[in-house]
């Protein structure tokens, strides 16, 4: 038992120093991290993103993702009002990707529709051209 105490006595000053350092480090990380800062900038950015997505037609073309984004922004504002900044930041960050996805889906859908429309027109032109080429020559002279 004495042996252990001796070892303890030798280690104790070091342990104290370690304790002090770790307390200082944890205080620094606590204040240094975004923990204490409200995510005002990212929230404003996400709200701009929602507006851009709306303009891209995301409300109609990706309603589920848009609803998720706006719900999360709403919850983020509530968390911010209650000083739960970490939770607010996470909600804003996930609203941000939600809204990016909504906008990407809307844009993809618009381009896809345009491509399909173009394909249909080209097909129609081709069948028309084929029909014309198959017409007997007499039809033209009959018309004349």
């Amino acid at each position: 038992m004495n042996g252990i105490c001796d070892v303890g006595r030798k280690i104790m000053p070091r342990m104290n120093a370690l304790l002090v350092t770790s307390v200082i480090i944890s205080i620094l990380t606590f204040y240094g991290c975004s923990t204490t800062k409200p995510p005002t900038d990212t929230l404003a950015k996400a709200e701009l993103g929602v507006r851009a997505a709306r303009e891209a037609g995301a409300n109609e073309l990706a309603p589920v993702d848009m609803k998720r984004a706006t719900d999360k922004l709403e919850r983020a504002k509530q968390a911010m009002a209650a000083d739960r900044y970490d939770e607010a930041r996470r909600l804003v960050e996930s609203a941000q990707v939600e809204v990016e996805l909504a906008e990407a889906k809307a844009e993809a859908e618009i381009v896809r529709r345009a491509a399909d429309d173009l394909q249909r027109r080209v097909d129609a032109l081709q069948t028309e051209a084929e029909r014309d080429s198959r017409k007997p020559i007499t039809t033209r002279s009959e018309k004349e």
């Binding site: 996470r90 960050e93 996930s94 990707v97 939600e98 990016e100 996805l101 990407a104 889906k105 844009e107 993809a108 381009v111 896809r112 345009a114 491509a115 173009l118 394909q119 080209v122």
Partner: protein
């Protein structure tokens, strides 16, 4: 990092993540289910030539979020933050997939415009 020099571009991120994963398993760290699911989604997208070709930047953003999640898991064991980042990874992979689909459709339109040889 010299070990990673063999790999180029996006492959390097994959290699780095694989090494990180191998290390975490090797050290006997507990796997986080949300993180592993996110890694799985990312790896699948990485193997999809359409996504790699048409949405490399979007896919890289997913990779960055995954790296950050990995770091938080191995160094800080921060369950809440890792779960959150894993969700971000999943969404970013989805954004990459949709972006690739948009570029593919845009390419189709371009083909109609340019005269065929």
């Amino acid at each position: 990092m010299r070990l990673l020099a063999v790999f180029e571009g996006p492959q390097r991120i994959t290699a780095a993540l694989s090494i990180l994963a191998a290390l975490s398993i090797g050290c006997g760290a507990v796997l986080n289910p949300a993180l592993e699911s996110a890694r799985d989604s990312y790896q699948k997208a990485r193997q999809d030539p359409m996504i790699v070709r048409h949405a490399a930047v979007a896919l890289d953003r997913a990779g960055q979020a995954l790296q950050e999640a990995d770091r938080l898991w191995t160094k800080e064991n921060n369950v809440i933050e890792v779960k959150h980042l894993a969700y971000i990874v999943e969404r970013r992979v989805e954004i990459a997939r949709v972006t690739a689909q948009r570029r593919l459709a845009a390419d189709e339109i371009q083909q109609f415009r340019s005269p065929r040889p």
